[in-house]
């Protein structure tokens, strides 16, 4: 296997493609860098000039409103020029290949690509293409690829956990739901294990768990009540509509009964346990409204921290 493709020869983060294999020091550096950016949002003038004159392309081959918007806000607060491309309805629909699109945007002097793609590994392909064609000064940030990774989501989750829980090395974290299809879960698992969280559990029916998921360093539980016992952090995953009825699950109702987070199940976790969700939520499917809106929910702070974390990532890769 080649050297970690997201670090340059000096060990600096030049792309952010996955949290897998990223040293704990790099993750900590990103989280520390994000801290002051949180307060920028509370100022009268919410801008710093770190990326002034840089062109960032939001390259979304898959629909997204939330992630794209938060990247856009993050870049604008760093004074970058942001160009949004909704490729799902433009060039690839006309037959252009992924790398042709990238080459064309490079010819427009792009400095940064934020990429979302339905295929696992698409951002790696772009990053290795840029290296192979002598454009190592152009950076790639993965905004979600297939089932593989969503590293900025993983980082904002880590930021949120650190904000409320301080020491990673004493925590029990439960990740509940569709791990099989979830890039959020994979990135968070890598982040948590790198930060030496001693107990990471995934809780789901076997139809929603990938083969050999234990190899990622997690404990597998099928019973949610048992799995939540003593947890400090509960991360609920979104269940896609098309997966609620059919071969993976019989119905949304049965799923909620077994794996939906209710006040009663939450009571099994530690009294100060926090509840997280990457959004958008399906109320009444994976999470009950009183829990989502309750005092233990940190779902909205996650969104706020997400912008600061993305500002940190963009400024760090751009300065490598």
């Amino acid at each position: 296997m080649t050297r970690n493709p997201q670090l340059n020869r000096n060990g600096e983060l030049t792309h952010l493609l996955t949290l897998e294999g990223l040293p704990a020091a790099v993750i900590t550096h990103i989280l520390d860098t994000a801290e002051p950016f949180v307060s920028i949002a509370e100022r009268e003038v919410k801008k710093v000039p770190l990326l002034r004159g840089k062109a960032m392309f939001n390259l979304f081959f898959e629909n997204s409103t939330r992630t794209r918007t938060t990247f856009e806000i993050a870049a604008k607060r760093l004074s970058a020029d942001v160009i949004n491309l909704n490729i799902g309805v433009s060039s690839t629909a006309k037959g252009e290949t992924l790398l042709d699109t990238v080459d064309n945007l490079c010819a427009m002097n792009a400095d940064l690509f934020v990429v979302r793609h339905a295929q696992s590994g698409a951002p790696h392909l772009i990053a290795s293409h840029l290296t192979a064609t002598g454009r190592a000064h152009v950076h790639v940030v993965n905004a979600g690829d297939g089932r593989h990774a969503h590293p900025t989501q993983g980082l904002l989750d880590l930021y949120t956990i650190r904000h409320y829980k301080k020491d990673f090395r004493e925590l029990s974290v439960a990740i509940v739901g569709d791990v099989l299809h979830s890039r959020v879960a994979r990135s968070l698992i890598h982040g948590l294990t790198t930060m030496q969280v001693p107990r990471v559990r995934v809780i789901a029916p076997r139809t929603l768990l990938p083969t050999a998921v234990e190899a990622l360093g997690v404990e597998v539980m099928n019973d949610m009540r048992e799995g939540l016992r003593g947890c400090d952090v509960i991360v609920m995953l979104r269940l896609q509509n098309e997966r609620m009825k059919g071969a993976l699950l019989p119905s949304a109702g049965e799923y909620f009964k077994h794996y939906g987070l209710t006040a009663e199940k939450l009571a099994l976790a530690k009294p100060d346990a926090i509840v997280m969700h990457p959004g958008p939520m399906n109320r009444g499917v994976e999470i009950d409204s009183p829990v989502a809106d309750g005092s233990r929910s940190v779902i909205l702070p996650q969104v706020t921290f997400g912008i600061a974390v993305r500002m940190a990532v963009l400024s760090i890769v751009a300065s490598s």
């Binding site: 296997m1 696992s120 297939g146 089932r147 593989h148 994979r186 990938p210 083969t211």
Partner: protein, 424 residues
């Protein structure tokens, strides 16, 4: 033309012969070895000192991409690759565009291959029309046109009754049936072996059960009909064990493995390397080791190249969208030698896996260096190193997971019917 291949190490797996001697070729056939035949006057000498002289290789799976897929490769380019790889006979699967389901297509292919004259081409005809799995092809006419066996290429049967009918019909007329064991439903949408690597990379997966369930189904039907089946490209340890048991039971089964799967496993996908996107998927190290042992102990009858030239446009895509396949005709020998060296298999036994054993599966006369045999030969240097590079490949497809690998075994000359069709 009277050609003398001088002082080579003659290895003839068919006769378990291994000795240093000269080989005499008169026109298109072998005229003698050791002492020159009576009245012999050498017209041309090919110095084979330090080289192995053996029958030309027989490859059970080489895609030539004609008809219809000429942007990926042509008969001219791929038969040149075959000659450069020492391959003198090859079977090509029917998954061309259109598939080889009409006699005219097969005749044209055979005719073009004969004109090019760099290797014998044995088309494998489509078992069903359009490989759709619903209507039997006119196997009789296809066989007359030159098909040596019938298969679905990589398109699995959904319908077990249809598979039974296909076996019964082919069996009636003694046509050979080749099947790649893979369950359609379990494999559908998958691009990588269902294991740690696919889980880590978030790649849709194909479980080993896709192979074992297909094997059980095939064995059940072979038992019921008595019709023999050749299994193409096993990929798993469980698959090897099932074939071993089926052979022990006496079922008329043969099977092959492709050279990639003898050396690579899912870990070689690394960070989504599309070169490692192959069909069947690269499986675990345990599976790879079982395949290596399976060839060594004879459970697996032959090693094929599974040559599938892919153009750069097809490969420069995200892993799951990238076209599977790799160019391999020119690597069949070095990859076989690499396996043999690691497994402690004697050179003659290793060469049998790419000469006599696949020839038997194709129904060809056993290739041999005996007097009177057609002079389809390979002369190779067994210790010469070379590095697999794009420029070094004759195949139009320059993609292979072995790019950059240093291999041992360089083809010095290939003879087809006594003609030197490649020399390096």
């Amino acid at each position: 033309m009277k050609l003398e291949i001088r002082n080579g190490r003659l290895i003839d797996p068919a006769r378990a012969l291994d000795r240093v001697a000269s080989l005499f070729i008169d026109d298109n056939a072998i005229a003698g070895s050791g002492e020159a035949p009576r009245g012999w006057r050498t017209e041309r000498v090919l110095d084979a000192s330090g080289c192995v002289v053996c029958p030309g290789f027989v490859d059970l799976s080489a895609r030539l991409r004609e008809p219809g897929l000429e942007h990926k490769a042509t008969l001219d380019s791929e038969l040149a690759a075959a000659a450069a790889g020492g391959v003198t006979s090859l079977a090509c699967p029917p998954d061309t565009d259109p598939p080889l389901d009409e006699p005219g297509l097969v005749q044209m292919l055979k005719h073009r291959a004969r004109l090019i004259g760099l290797a014998h081409v044995y088309p494998v005809g489509a078992l069903t029309v359009g490989l759709k799995g619903t209507t039997l092809t006119e196997m009789g006419q296809l066989a007359e046109a030159g098909c040596v066996a019938f298969s679905q290429a990589d398109v699995p049967f959904h319908d077990t009754l249809m598979l039974l009918r296909a076996l019964q019909y082919a069996g009636t007329f003694g046509h050979r049936v080749w099947l790649r064991p893979q369950d359609h439903y379990l494999a559908h949408g998958g691009v990588a072996h269902d294991g740690e690597v696919a889980t880590r990379l978030g790649l849709p997966a194909i479980p080993v059960a896709a192979e074992t369930i297909a094997l059980s189904r095939i064995f059940g039907l072979v038992r019921a009909t008595g019709v023999g089946v050749h299994l193409s490209r096993l990929s798993s340890a469980e698959g090897v064990a099932m074939v071993r048991a089926a052979k022990a039971e006496g079922l008329p089964i043969t099977c092959d493995v492709d050279a990639h799967h003898l050396h690579l496993c899912d870990v070689d996908i690394g960070w989504f390397d599309p070169q490692a996107h192959l069909v069947p998927p690269l499986r675990s190290t345990r599976d790879r080791d079982a395949l290596q042992r399976g060839v060594a102990d004879g459970t697996i009858d032959a090693i094929c190249s599974d040559h599938a030239p892919v153009d750069d446009d097809g490969k420069q895509m995200p892993f799951g969208e990238a076209e599977p396949g790799a160019s391999a005709l020119e690597l069949l020998l070095p990859l076989t030698l690499k396996w043999a060296a690691a497994a402690g298999v004697a050179l003659g036994d290793a060469l049998a896996c790419i000469t006599t054993r696949p020839a038997a599966i194709l129904g060809l006369a056993a290739p041999s260096l005996a007097d009177g045999m057609a002079a389809d030969l390979c002369v190779f240097d067994p210790v010469s190193h070379w590095t697999v590079q794009r420029d070094a490949l004759r195949s139009q497809g320059k993609n292979t997971p072995f790019l950059g690998l240093e291999v041992v075994g360089r083809v010095r000359a290939t003879l087809l019917g006594g003609r030197v069709v490649h020399e390096a």
